[in-house]
């Protein structure tokens, strides 16, 4: 406990002095950007920071752009949810069953090596142009992160927890709800976080 409070203090202290350094750093970056843009003086190649900010503000007010941002956001969330719904059960099953891991692991590890761009033509042939391929790509990209992390989380649960639960009379379902799920939850969340990050990447 004591260790934790001093750690917290350190973080707070770091934040205050670091704040100035951070502001200074970004100011420096903006100034360099400005100087570079003035030197090049072709807005198409490198617009000034001010022009970029103006464009950003005006597009905030543009209904068409905003509705497109909304559509993109919804796509990412939908794809992410698909990745979670499909990935978490697979990850758990791979963590719990050696056989499932052995049988399914090879397939997953080979699919995982395929570059995302290589999926694009295939998904367009399979799902046509439009919502389908985009969702598929977002979901697939996140899926592996979710599966791997969930699997890791389940495998990382100490054998003692299972043994302890058994000696206390827990049946399989209770072990699943009270040991497997809470034990693997932190890693599942890491997987979910990585998946939403890579979702944004692949949406572009």
């Amino acid at each position: 406990m004591e260790g934790k409070t001093t750690e917290n203090k350190k973080i707070i202290k770091l934040n205050i002095s670091d704040g100035f350094i951070k502001i200074g750093f970004y100011l420096l970056l903006l100034i360099s950007w400005y100087i570079a843009a003035r030197k090049i003086s072709i807005p198409l190649l490198l617009p000034t920071p001010l022009a970029t900010a103006k464009a950003f503000v005006s597009s905030l007010g543009n209904a068409k752009i905003m509705s497109n941002v909304w559509i993109t956001l919804m796509r990412v969330i939908k794809g992410w949810l698909i990745a979670l719904i499909v990935g978490i059960p697979i990850g758990i099953a791979m963590g719990l069953s050696k056989t499932f891991n052995y049988v399914f692991g090879g397939l997953m590890n080979s699919l995982r090596q395929i570059p995302m761009m290589a999926w694009v033509p295939l998904t367009i042939i399979w799902l046509g142009i439009g919502e389908g391929p985009t969702l598929f790509m977002i979901a697939l990209n996140g899926l592996f992160q979710v599966i791997l992390n969930t699997n890791q989380g389940v495998l990382g649960i100490s054998k003692d927890y299972y043994n302890a639960a058994k000696t206390m009379g827990a049946n399989k379902w209770s072990i699943f709800c009270n040991i497997v799920i809470p034990g693997a939850l932190p890693d599942m969340l890491v997987g979910a976080r990585l998946a939403i990050g890579s979702g944004w990447m692949s949406v572009i």
């Binding site: 043994n163 302890a164 058994k166 206390m168 827990a170 049946n171």
Partner: protein
């Protein structure tokens, strides 16, 4: 209630190398007895305890509880782990309630028992904290009363005080003794600490590194609470230490 260990053999195979850790081991534990399996590391005492608990399968022989052969882990044999194995995602209270929830004990009885267990383990007021928020000694007591919560016939403890400093060990030794007597539970404890064995046990079973061979069984008839400074107590300790070193095991 009687627990009988009969002719247990166990061999571990590790990278094609076979190592026999237990060879034809037998002993009895009477109802309400506090028995310690004492021995140097590598004598197979923890393996023996895991077999009794049902975590580990033996190659031959049987463990009988009330004349029935035990098969796998079961709430009639509770276990206290060396590292406590408290569920970090549950509060002290929910850890202790866990075995009672599994056995579907009626609500009013459940809360009465929880209250009692918090009382005897001096955890009252700390029940809503999580395992990472409490001290090593409190974790130990939580693990102990959690194991007792389901009213097991036998309590198995694997070096329950191994991770604590000497002062904490001493004070918890007397608390463990009190709690186990209060709950009238039969105990089998594993330790390598001679003093701990003599302080707590009715019977000390001394195992050697020679495939767990039982070198000596000491019946400790000293009155409780035990006085570490009485002659007989010191004699017991000396005798056990002598027997261990004779075997060249430590």
């Amino acid at each position: 209630m009687k627990l009988q260990v009969k002719n247990i053999c166990k061999t571990f195979t590790n990278q094609k190398q076979e190592k026999k850790v237990l060879d034809n081991i037998s002993f009895n534990v009477e109802e309400g007895e506090f028995v310690t399996l004492l021995g140097p590391s590598g004598c197979g005492k923890t393996t023996m305890l895991s077999i009794i608990a049902g975590f580990e399968k033996n190659d031959s022989g049987v463990v009988e509880l009330d004349g029935e052969v035990v098969n796998g882990a079961n709430p009639d044999r509770a276990f206290v782990f060396q590292n406590y194995a408290l569920f970090p995602w549950m509060s002290v209270k929910n850890n202790i309630l866990f075995p009672m929830k599994q056995q579907k004990i009626p609500k009013d009885e459940e809360s009465k028992r929880l209250e009692h267990l918090l009382q005897i383990s001096k955890l009252k007021g700390y029940e809503d904290l999580y395992p990472h928020q409490i001290s090593g000694g409190m974790k130990q007591r939580t693990a102990l009363v959690r194991a007792l919560a389901g009213k097991p016939k036998v309590l198995l403890m694997d070096e329950p005080l191994g991770a604590l400093d000497l002062i904490m060990r001493r004070s918890l030794q007397s608390e463990i003794g009190n709690i186990c007597r209060e709950e009238k539970v039969t105990v089998i404890m594993v330790t390598h600490d001679v003093d701990e064995a003599v302080y707590l046990s009715d019977k000390v079973i001394l195992m050697s590194t020679n495939k767990g061979e039982i070198v000596h069984e000491l019946m400790n008839e000293l009155p409780r609470p035990r006085d570490r400074y009485c002659e007989k107590y010191k004699d017991y300790c000396e005798m056990l230490i002598k027997k261990i070193s004779e075997r060249g095991a430590i």
